[in-house]
């Protein structure tokens, strides 16, 4: 490995991301276009988080609680940052940094796999640094209050280590996915298309789960007690270093430090090895079975969509199973649901005598997974057009038609998951018809409201750059989407919460209010989306 090459590559990848083209053809200007901006941003967030915790939150805690919280956070920070750097990158920057750029340049540059892996991993750390800074700052605030700065320093160092480990694990996901996808080169048929997508999703889910400490604790716990299990969960070794330090066990601290170093080396060599075995992939082309040209308007036509709208919906459905970037969009919700499954004992779940409240967290996690799917699909609905968006602008299609088709596509994609959820809810809770009806009504309403909101955000922040991308929107759009997702869910379910928790109003009234609030959100969002789309029609192509 050549460190100089790795650093140069990381610099180029960071620069490329910092200058990412934004919606409406604009580019970041001033400091925002320089990669160093992210470092300043991280430092500011670090200072704010530590200041906030030290001066307000931490001072309200009692001594014992403060000590417990400070030590627990210091212990789990390295393991958490590891998983966070991986998931955060999967959701926001996967294939944005290294891979997208590399496809074009590294094939003919004298770069070794090690240079590329390290450069790309450093880029991932650069991306996650603002998030990590908030966590490190918050724990610093607590550590200053209880005087455990040594633990904080150790935990912080190991958190950087955790970020690096997560970033290297992401490299394993990237290279493995390329390998898995490349295996289908030249294969025929729709089955190959679907199998390729299933395999890609499985690679992301399995590797991510391997670096999730709570999942690994659960898996190892199947074979031993949790006290013993913790020692065998490799991703917890850096946390064990901090734990042993706080306990004053120097020998244990050294052993876990050595194990952590070995883990880093193993993951690094694994990621380099896999990358070497399958260097940068060429686009995988599949030959499909002959398709019939559509001779009628079909089901979509009978639902009221015109030929252009129906064509757009069909195209987006094909895109979902054929494009490699979509694997992440599908994998994240699968992961959320799987984490719910793994953290809930099946005997409790399927026991009819278990109260509904006990099954609530599992059902909530499944609902979260579906709403996350809707969020991701809707947010990227327009940006996924990429440079081919010009085809739609040049075509005789109005902004309204385009939006209707995009919204319908999101609803069609989420409908099977919603139906499955309602069936699962009904089966697991044996709830009465009224409860199932309320859940179905609220679920559908939320799905439509989130689709509309995210479509509006995705239209405002759409990016139409070429190459493989994950999120199809600018970074600000991604964050705005998450924020508005929370606001939408909060506003829509607030009336029901007033009924179920506060008992302040009857069910019919709260349900009607939920529907009314959601409808208002849909109307406002569609108007905003249409305005944004009309502006996009007027940008330079």
């Amino acid at each position: 490995m050549n460190l100089r090459n790795a650093l140069r590559l990381a610099g180029v990848f960071c620069l490329s991301a910092a200058r990412e083209r934004r919606a409406r053809g604009g580019r970041p200007t001033g400091l925002a276009r320089r990669p160093v901006a992210n470092i300043y941003y991280s430092l500011a967030l670090f200072a704010l988080a530590s200041g906030f915790v030290y001066f307000s939150l931490g001072k309200s805690l009692e001594g014992a609680v403060l000590n417990l919280l400070a030590s627990q956070l210091a212990v789990f920070l390295p393991a958490f940052t590891m998983f966070m750097s991986m998931i955060y990158s999967l959701m926001t920057e996967f294939s944005q940094s290294g891979e997208a750029v590399s496809t074009d340049i590294v094939n003919w540059l004298p770069i070794k796999a090690g240079d590329f892996v390290l450069g790309s991993a450093l880029t991932t750390i650069y991306f996650v640094s603002p998030m990590a800074s908030i966590l490190l700052g918050a724990v610093l605030g607590l550590s200053l209050l209880n005087g455990s700065l040594d633990s904080w320093a150790l935990s912080s160092t190991l958190s950087v280590y955790g970020c690096l480990l997560g970033a290297l694990a992401l490299e394993i996901v990237r290279a493995t996915m390329s390998r898995a996808s490349g295996a289908f080169q030249g294969m025929r048929g729709q089955r190959a298309v679907i199998l390729r997508m299933v395999l890609s999703v499985a690679v992301i889910v399995v590797v991510s789960m391997m670096f999730n400490f709570s999942v690994m604790m659960r898996v190892v716990g199947w074979f031993s007690s949790s006290v013993v299990a913790i020692r065998f969960v490799a991703v917890l070794w850096p946390s064990m270093v901090v734990l042993e330090h706080i306990s004053g066990n120097l020998a244990g601290e050294l052993v876990y430090s050595a194990l952590s170093a070995a883990l880093l080396a193993a993951v690094y060599y694994a990621s380099v090895g896999i990358r070497e075995r399958y260097w940068v992939p060429a686009p995988v082309s599949l030959r499909l079975q002959p398709v019939r040209i559509s001779r009628s308007r079909g089901i979509l036509g009978s639902l009221g969509f015109d030929s252009g709208e129906a064509a757009l919906i069909r195209k987006d459905l094909k895109s979902l199973v054929r494009r490699r970037e979509m694997a992440t969009i599908l994998a994240i919700p699968v992961m959320i649901v799987l984490m719910g499954v793994l953290s809930t004992p099946p005997e409790m779940l399927f026991d009819p005598s278990t109260p509904i409240e006990a099954k609530g967290p599992f059902l909530a996690q499944c609902a979260m997974g579906i709403l996350m799917l809707i969020y991701q699909v809707a947010l990227g609905a327009l940006g996924q057009e990429g440079e081919a968006f010009v085809n739609l602008v040049a075509a005789p299609m109005e902004a309204g038609q385009l939006l209707r088709a995009k919204a319908a596509g999101v609803v069609i994609i989420s409908l099977p998951a919603l139906v499955l959820y309602f069936a699962l809810f009904s089966y697991l809770t044996s709830a009465d018809a009224t409860t199932v009806g309320v859940v179905a009504a609220v679920g559908l309403t939320l799905a439509v409201a989130i689709s509309a909101v995210e479509l509006a955000v995705g239209t405002k922040y759409a990016t139409f750059t070429s190459g493989r991308r994950t999120r199809f929107v600018a970074y600000q759009g991604y964050l705005m989407g998450v924020f508005l997702w929370i606001v939408t869910v909060g506003l829509a379910v607030a009336p029901l919460a007033l009924h179920y928790i506060g008992g302040l109003m009857g069910l019919p009234v709260s349900l009607a209010l939920t529907e009314a609030v959601s409808l208002a959100i849909v109307v406002v969002s569609f108007r905003a989306a249409r305005r944004q789309l009309e502006k996009l029609y007027e940008r330079e192509y």
Binding site: P283, V284, L286, R287, K315, V390, N391, A394
Partner: protein, 257 residues
């Protein structure tokens, strides 16, 4: 003249910040004519074509396409125009056939004739047998052919082709040339840009030469030669003379030093 112009640009200008992309452009294109836009890189050819399509709004001036203003009634204009950008931008995850089916539906091509028309074009361009392969496996030339077919499927009255023959093999280039001439006979107007002078010479009824956003010459290829005072020379020599780039020997010498 074969009646009212199919395309008319009157005093059209467009700036991008400090850059004057197109300045005070006046062009009339007859119905059924093949009109070439010639000019070096950055001379404003693509900008002018995008303004005719309605993808770009002119800062000043007036554009009319078969009597329709693309700015005030963009949908009506787009319905009668077929457009191929300089680099084809296709959905790489669709097959060629699926892409054409999609484009036909978006343009509202009659379901009864759609299939026949698509296969006719696929056969003519030598893409038959490859139509079920995903576009990301196509060569640049194949993508160009798919984009060209997509622009012609809905039988447009005006074709706007930005460097349409780049990347095409000689046979396909010949097909496009013959097709454009046949379409011209049926009254279809074509506005296209090219760097290949032989093609412009052989194909165009009239040519507008653009340089730094301004029109510096217009006429049939023979008229341009005559006006340049070089009736016997090639169009390339006329073009280089008009754009002031006729002597590049100094540049070559400098590069070889």
């Amino acid at each position: 003249m074969r009646g009212e112009p199919a395309v008319s640009l009157k005093g059209v200008s467009r700036r991008f910040g400090e850059i004057r992309a197109v300045m005070n452009l006046d062009i009339d294109i007859e119905r059924g004519a093949i009109h070439g836009l010639l000019g070096p890189n950055g001379s404003g050819k693509s900008t002018a074509m995008k303004m005719v399509l309605g993808l770009l709004r002119p800062d000043s001036g007036k554009i009319s396409v078969y009597g329709i203003d693309p700015q005030t009634d963009p949908l009506a204009a787009k319905r009668i125009i077929g457009y191929v950008p300089e680099s084809p931008r296709l959905y790489e995850y669709l097959t060629g056939l699926e892409y054409l089916d999609f484009i036909a539906d978006v343009y509202g091509v009659d379901l009864a004739v759609k299939e026949e028309r698509i296969y006719e074009f696929l056969e003519a361009f030598g893409l038959e047998g490859r139509e079920n392969k995903m576009i990301n496996g196509y060569s640049h030339g194949m993508k160009q052919k798919v984009a060209l077919i997509g622009a012609m499927l809905h039988r447009p009255r005006l074709l706007i082709l930005d460097e349409p023959l780049g990347g095409l093999d000689p046979k396909s280039a010949r097909i496009v040339k013959d097709l454009l001439q046949r379409l011209s006979g049926e009254g279809v107007t074509t506005l296209f840009s090219t760097h290949i002078m032989e093609i412009a010479d052989a194909l165009c009824d009239r040519i507008s030469v653009l340089y730094l956003g301004e029109k510096i010459g217009e006429g049939s290829p023979a008229e341009l030669r005559e006006r340049a005072g070089r009736p016997g020379s090639t169009l390339e020599e006329v073009f280089l003379m008009l754009t002031g780039a006729n002597d590049v020997s100094d540049i070559v010498d400098a590069l070889m030093e």
